[in-house]
């Protein structure tokens, strides 16, 4: 999947699927309200030069702690907020220049499902009205839009005869999230951004919704951008995984590489913090200590070095570049440990034990 700016010479065996979405050097800085008088304005670098691409029909999972910029990335891609820098290429077309009708059409092709199933539904509309709203905006006659809405509700497992005229508060969290999925599908989109879409659901309901998402993806050839802090769920749904830390991508690759052969201490710490389903694989390795550093003044060099068990002097001097892991064409990581020329004393040792 991923092709960072220094385009990798990786061979494309069997012809890789074309990317549906390519993101280049995406940046978003939020001004921080200063408390005193004067003083220089400060910025939070919420998203600080992010590159990635998502192949058609695949799922890219974005993981990281809260505040790492994954949700901001999603909102930037959805153009819910303007980016400060960077470019988006969607289905071969640059998105930044989209205005008016073009933007409206782009919006149709890219939909989003939010975490809070209640806050994402208008409490004054019945769920059928909510699902039908999008197509109506795009010119579908009211009766036809309602008919489609009912069919979609049926498809996501909500019997339209019983549910179509319900209000959101009459539904359970899982049912509401099905409505949100139906609303996204009503536009017949190509890309669906799932921003912590199952995070608020009970485990059993979560599994049902994940199954539904998998079915819909196969059925409609959807591409997902799946944002989550839950590594189990990401493992289940994703084809590729991207790990973010303080607004930057620190590791990315095919899901089995990330979960099997981690090339970054942060990812490793994240994975070890998750209690494994298999008791034999539970580790004693220390989970992440402390909170992420203040994103207003990130540490020099590698941003993870304050919390990294293997940090070394070189990590403070130079920020590691996102670079291909030797022998794994689609696997990239930003860590001096992977680069024998970096000057890190432990560099080049077999990383994943």
């Amino acid at each position: 999947m991923n092709t960072p700016s220094q385009a990798s010479p990786a061979p494309e065996r069997g012809g890789r699927p074309q990317p549906l979405l390519v993101v280049r050097d995406l940046k978003k800085h939020f001004p921080v309200r200063d408390s005193g008088f004067g003083g220089p304005r400060k910025f939070v670098h919420a998203v600080d030069g992010v590159n990635f691409s998502v192949p058609k029909g695949k799922t890219l999972g974005i993981v990281g702690e809260s505040g790492c910029g994954k949700s901001t990335t999603a909102r930037l891609v959805a153009r819910l907020m303007p980016a400060d820098a960077g470019s988006l290429i969607f289905d071969g077309e640059g998105v930044a220049e989209f205005r008016g009708l073009h933007l409206k059409e782009f919006r149709r092709k890219l939909q989003m499902v939010f975490q809070d199933s209640f806050a994402s539904l208008n409490p004054r509309l019945t769920i059928a009205e909510t699902v039908a709203y999008g197509p109506r905006v795009h010119g579908t006659p009211a009766a036809k839009a309602m008919q489609q809405a009912r069919e979609l509700l049926d498809r996501v497992g909500l019997d339209a005869a019983n549910f179509a005229n319900r209000y959101p508060h009459e539904l359970s969290g899982g049912q509401r999230q099905r409505v949100n999925i139906a609303r996204a599908l009503a536009y017949d989109p190509q890309l669906v951004i799932l921003d912590e879409a199952v995070a608020a659901l009970d485990k059993s309901v979560q599994a049902q919704v994940l199954n539904l998402l998998q079915e819909l993806k196969a059925e409609r050839g959807l591409t997902y951008l799946f944002i989550s802090h839950d590594l189990h769920v990401v493992h289940y749904l994703s084809d590729y995984v991207m790990v973010m830390y303080l607004g930057q991508v620190i590791e990315t690759g095919p899901v089995e590489r990330i979960y099997g052969h981690t090339a970054h201490p942060y990812t490793r710490a994240l994975l070890s913090a998750v209690p494994s389903m298999d008791p034999a694989r539970r580790t004693e390795a220390s989970p992440l200590a402390g909170d992420p550093p203040n994103p207003i003044n990130p540490p020099s060099g590698c941003r993870f070095r304050d919390r990294c068990p293997r940090a070394h002097a070189v990590c403070a001097d130079r920020a590691p570049e996102l670079a291909a892991i030797h022998g794994a064409p689609e696997h990239f990581a930003a860590c001096h440990l992977n680069d024998t020329a970096s000057g890190h004393p432990d560099a080049g040792q077999e990383f994943s034990a």
Binding site: S120, N122, H138, N211
Partner: protein, 297 residues
């Protein structure tokens, strides 16, 4: 297949129970609230007496009689006595409701409309436009509302329409503040983001998604203003800034009957009692509306 997945048991869903819209639920709650029923009943009675005064009232509200001045309550032919010009008090109280209710309700309605529009605009647009609008309105907050009402209608001069303008100007900033803060809250909700993802115009989003959710809290606030407005409106008339004599209006009647407090005190107090009853009924109804609308957003 999803059809084979067991659905999580629905919270309140059964095919037999029909679904209700938010306002239908509120209405049903209100009808079950004894306080709301009592307050609403009293208000209906007062409104009916005012509206149907020409048919119900026993006498002519303007017909004065020098020999029948200040008759006590229970005089023959004058159930509630007569005023300082010998006019039937019951008749004048019934007619008085027309102007008093008008003066109390119209400014709130006007402020509800104008304030919601400005507040929605300011809150949805946000940024500098919002800041400018809200800072300008802050100035009106530097005036206590009674003083502002008196000052504006004092400057404009006495009269019905000037009092209505003055009261509307007092309430608009308050309604704007509520509408603006609710709009800002609503605007941040995910369903607005979802609506923006549809590519819909700002107008469509405001109409379909914002307005319906802002209207509720603003409505609650506005119902709370009714009681204040009744007291202020009649107060302006009491000061001589509202309706002019010989029109029947409760506040003005209270003023002109003041000279009678030594000779016939309870007759003099009657118009004020009606202002009080109306105001308390509005207040209780507003409380009921607030709790009825406090149901899961």
């Amino acid at each position: 297949m999803s059809a084979t997945l067991p659905l999580p048991s629905p919270v309140a869903v059964s095919a037999a129970q029909p679904s209700r819209s938010y306002w239908a639920v509120v209405w049903r709650q209100l009808r079950r609230d004894p306080m709301a029923l009592a307050a609403g009943g009293v208000l209906l009675l007062i409104i009916a007496a005012a509206v149907f005064a020409p048919w119900l009232a026993p006498a002519d509200p303007y017909k004065a009689s020098m020999i029948k001045r200040l008759l006590p309550i229970g005089s023959s032919g004058f159930l509630l006595g007569t005023d300082e010009l010998g006019r039937d008090l019951l008749t004048r109280l019934m007619y008085g409701g027309r102007l008093s209710l008008l003066m109390g309700v119209v400014p709130v309605l006007a402020a509800f409309g104008i304030g919601t529009a400005i507040g929605l605009f300011a809150g949805y647009v946000g940024g500098k436009v919002n800041m400018v609008i809200m800072r300008v309105l802050d100035v009106f907050y530097a005036f206590p509302s009674v003083l502002l009402a008196v000052a504006i209608s004092g400057a404009l001069g006495p009269g019905l329409s000037n009092s209505l303008i003055a009261l509307t100007l007092v309430f608009v900033p308050q309604v704007v503040r509520v509408a603006e803060s609710v709009t800002i809250q609503v605007r941040q909700l995910d369903y607005i983001e979802a609506a923006r993802m549809s590519g819909a115009s700002a107008f469509s989003i405001i109409r379909v998604h914002v307005l319906g959710n802002v209207l509720g809290p603003v409505f609650v606030y506005a119902t709370g203003l009714l009681s204040v407005s009744m007291i202020l409106a009649s107060g302006l008339s009491f000061l001589g800034l509202g309706v002019k004599p010989p029109e029947p209006e409760w506040g003005l009647m209270l003023n002109t009957l003041r000279s009678a407090i030594y000779s016939n005190p309870w007759v003099a107090a009657l118009p004020g009692l009606l202002i009080f009853v109306t105001s308390i009924a509005f207040n209780l109804l507003a409380d009921s509306v607030r709790s009825a609308m406090d149901i899961r957003r």
